[in-house]
C-alpha cells in the first residue's frame, strides 16, 4: 500500500548478504519489536518503560510520519483547528531518552520465526522482513498492526475523488482538495462518516450521507441515539439517506473524465458529488498473524493478557480479538474494540505480560465522537441489553440513553451530558448500579441514584 520510498537502514551499518534479498540490511537484534506505531504500539513502548522493561525497543511505523494521533483527522485537523505537529505523540527527544528506536516507512511483509527448541517450545524470537528487504531480528514480537479502511466495492470506486479517511496522508490529501468541490457524498453513517460530514458541512460544503443500514451508527449506539443524531444532522442541513442502495459511481465528462461526478442510486437518481468520502468500517490487518500461524478470527485471537495463540507474541489494539474486558461480562464473550481507550488499556496489559506480570485486562470501555455541536460519550458496552432508559432535556440540548441487562446498567450513550457519562462510567467501574426507575428524570443527577449492586439484588 505504501507508495513512498522506505527509509533505508543506514543507521544499522552492516549490510549482511544473507537471506533471499541479497544486499538488504540486517538491523541489530532488538529486545522487543513492535510492528505498528499508532496509538496501541506507541502506548506499549511507553508503558514498557514505565514498568521497568530495560531492553531495547524498536517501534516500526509503516507511514512516513512520526507517530501521531488519529481521532482528530476527521474533526479538528480537517477543520484546520490543529496542525500535524499538534497530533504528534512524543518529541524525538523522548524516544531517544527512553531507548526506543523509531523507524518510519517500514512495512513488514513477512515474519520468520526461529525454530522451536528441542522441547518444542518457542522462545518468541525471530526476524521481521520489510518490503525493502531490511531484516529486523527480535527476541519478542508485538503486533500493533491495527486495521485498514474497508474499500468500497462498486463500479467507479477507482475514480479520482473517491477518498478514505484513516491516515494522516488521507487527511492531507482530502484537505488539499477542499477548494475543488462543492458537493460531497459521504458513504457510511458511522462515526468517521458523520464526523467528516459535519466537518465538511461546517466548511460550507453540500453534504449527502448515504447509509446502507436502517439507522445511523447502527453498530455502536442504540436506536434512540441513532434517531437523535439523524434529526440533529438533518436539522443542520445535512442530507441523510438511510437504506441507500448505490448502483455505481458516475464519472465526469470532458475535463473531468476519470474523476467522480456523482453517485447513482438503484432507483436511477444521481446524487452530485465531486468528492466521495468512504467510511464503511475497517478490516483488521491479520495477514502477518495468519502467515505466522496464529489463531485469527475477526482479528488476532488473544487471551486476557494480550497474548496470541503461540503463547509468546502479543497483539494489541484494533487488531486484537479478545475476551470482553467489561467486569461481569458473560464467560467466553469475545470482542474486537476500535477505540483509543482500548488501545491504551490493552497496551498496558500487554506491557505487564511482557515483563512477567500477569494482569488481566478488565475495564470499562469508553468511546467518544464529536460531531459539530454534539459531543457523544459512550461508557460500557451495549452487548446483550434488554431495556433502556432515555434521559432527555431539550432545553439544555442534552440526551442520554442508559442500557440495562437484567436490571443492571451496562452502558450509556451521552450527548452533551458529561455528568451522565461520568456517573455511569464510575458506577460501572465500581460494580454499582443506577436503578432504571428514577433515571428517566433528567433533572435528577445520576450520581445521586447510584446504589451498590449487592444491595439492589436483595429482594424487597
Amino acid at each position: 500500500m505504501s507508495t513512498h520510498t522506505p527509509e533505508r537502514a543506514e543507521r544499522s551499518g552492516t549490510d549482511v548478504a544473507a537471506g533471499p534479498e541479497a544486499g538488504a540490511a540486517t538491523r541489530p537484534e532488538t529486545g522487543l519489536l513492535i510492528i505498528g506505531a499508532s496509538q496501541a504500539g506507541v502506548q506499549l513502548a511507553i508503558s514498557l518503560r514505565g514498568t521497568g522493561f530495560d531492553e531495547h525497543i524498536t517501534l516500526l511505523g509503516e507511514e512516513d510520519h512520526r507517530p501521531y494521533q488519529r481521532p482528530a483527522l476527521s474533526k479538528e485537523f480537517l477543520q484546520d483547528k490543529v496542525d500535524k505537529e499538534n497530533l504528534i505523540f512524543r518529541s524525538q527527544q523522548y524516544w531517544d531518552e527512553h531507548d526506543i528506536e523509531l523507524v518510519k516507512g517500514a512495512r513488514i511483509v513477512r515474519i520468520e520465526r526461529h525454530a522451536p527448541a528441542e522441547d518444542g517450545r518457542r522462545d518468541g524470537s525471530g526476524v521481521a522482513v520489510a518490503a525493502d528487504g531490511t531484516r529486523y531480528p527480535y527476541r519478542r514480537l508485538a503486533l500493533a498492526v491495527g486495521a485498514r479502511a474497508r474499500r468500497l466495492e462498486l463500479e467507479g470506486a477507482e475514480l479520482d475523488g473517491v477518498v478514505y479517511l484513516r491516515s494522516a496522508d488521507d487527511a492531507l490529501a482530502l484537505k488539499a482538495r477542499l477548494g475543488d468541490f462543492r458537493d460531497v457524498v459521504v458513504v457510511g453513517g458511522g462515526f468517521i462518516g458523520l464526523e467528516a460530514a459535519c466537518s465538511l458541512h461546517g466548511m460550507g460544503k453540500h453534504v449527502t450521507v448515504l447509509e446502507h443500514g436502517p439507522r445511523l451508527v447502527g453498530r455502536a449506539v442504540g436506536e434512540d441515539t441513532s434517531e437523535y443524531f439523524l434529526r440533529s444532522h438533518r436539522e443542520r442541513g445535512i442530507d441523510i439517506r438511510l437504506e441507500a442502495r448505490m448502483r455505481r459511481l458516475v464519472p465526469g465528462t470532458g475535463e473531468r473524465a476519470g474523476s467522480v461526478a456523482g453517485v447513482e442510486l438503484e432507483d436511477g437518481t444521481v446524487v452530485d458529488a465531486q468528492l466521495v468520502l468512504v467510511g464503511i468500517g475497517v478490516v483488521p490487518n491479520t495477514e502477518l498473524a495468519e502467515q505466522m500461524g496464529l489463531a485469527v478470527d475477526n482479528g488476532i485471537v488473544v487471551d486476557r493478557h494480550a497474548v496470541a495463540s503461540d503463547g509468546t507474541t502479543v497483539a494489541v489494539g484494533d487488531v486484537a480479538n479478545m475476551p470482553n474486558p467489561l467486569p461481569g461480562a458473560p464467560e467466553g464473550e469475545r470482542i474486537r474494540l476500535e477505540s483509543v481507550n482500548n488501545a491504551i488499556e490493552h497496551a498496558k496489559v500487554a506491557a505487564y505480560s511482557l515483563t512477567g506480570r500477569q494482569e488481566e485486562y478488565a475495564g470499562i470501555p469508553w468511546f467518544w465522537s464529536n460531531q459539530a455541536d454534539l459531543k457523544l460519550q459512550i461508557a460500557g458496552l451495549t452487548l446483550g441489553y434488554d431495556s433502556t432508559v432515555v434521559r432527555r432535556d431539550d432545553a439544555k440540548g442534552r440526551f442520554s440513553v442508559l442500557y440495562y441487562r437484567g436490571g443492571q446498567v451496562i452502558a450509556a450513550d451521552c450527548v452533551n451530558a458529561p455528568l451522565d457519562f461520568m456517573a455511569v462510567r464510575a458506577a460501572l467501574g465500581k460494580g454499582q448500579n443506577i436503578p432504571a426507575g428514577a433515571a428517566a428524570d433528567p433533572a435528577v443527577p445520576l450520581k445521586t441514584l447510584v446504589v451498590d449492586r449487592t444491595a439492589q439484588e436483595v429482594p424487597a
Binding site: 511507553i46 514505565g50 494521533q69 481521532p71 482528530a72 474533526k75 479538528e76 490543529v82 499538534n86 497530533l87 504528534i88 505523540f89 512524543r90 518529541s91 527527544q93 523522548y94 531518552e97 527512553h98 483509543v340 481507550n341 491504551i344 469508553w366 467518544w368 464529536n370 459531543k375 460519550q377 452533551n416 458529561p418 455528568l419 457519562f421 461520568m422 462510567r425 464510575a426 450520581k447
Partner: protein, 106 residues
C-alpha cells in the same frame, strides 16, 4: 520561552519550555510528563489531563467553559477549587505556570 512547571504527586518537578499556542496538556504529553494521560487528545471528552493550578496563578487564566466544569466532576482524583483540564489551557507569551498532577488520572 514560556515555561510550565509540572510537579507530580510525589513532589518532583519538571520544567518544560513550551510553545505559544500549544496547550499545557500537549506540552506535557509530547515531553512524556508522567501524570497526564489525555486519552482524547484534547477534545474535552475524557478528563484524564486534570491538573491543580497554583492558587495565585489561577486568576490570570481564562475562565472555564461549562463543559470543562462538568468534565471536572469526573476526574479520577477529586477536583479542587484550583482544578483545570490542562487541554483547555493555552500557553501564552511569557507564561510561567505551575501545575501539580494528581496521583492518578484513570
Amino acid at each position: 520561552m514560556p515555561t510550565i512547571h509540572y510537579t507530580d504527586a510525589a513532589g518532583e518537578t519538571r520544567d518544560i519550555e513550551a510553545n505559544v499556542g500549544d496547550s499545557v496538556m500537549e506540552t506535557a504529553v509530547r515531553n512524556g510528563v508522567p501524570g497526564i494521560v489525555a486519552e482524547c487528545g484534547g477534545s474535552l471528552s475524557c478528563a484524564t489531563c486534570h491538573v491543580f493550578v497554583r492558587e495565585d496563578e489561577l486568576e490570570q487564566l481564562p475562565g472555564m467553559s461549562e463543559m470543562e466544569d462538568e468534565m471536572l466532576y469526573g476526574t479520577a482524583v477529586d477536583r479542587e477549587d484550583c482544578s483545570r483540564l490542562s487541554c483547555q489551557i493555552k500557553v501564552t507569551d511569557g507564561m510561567e505556570l505551575h501545575v501539580t498532577t494528581p496521583e492518578t488520572q484513570v
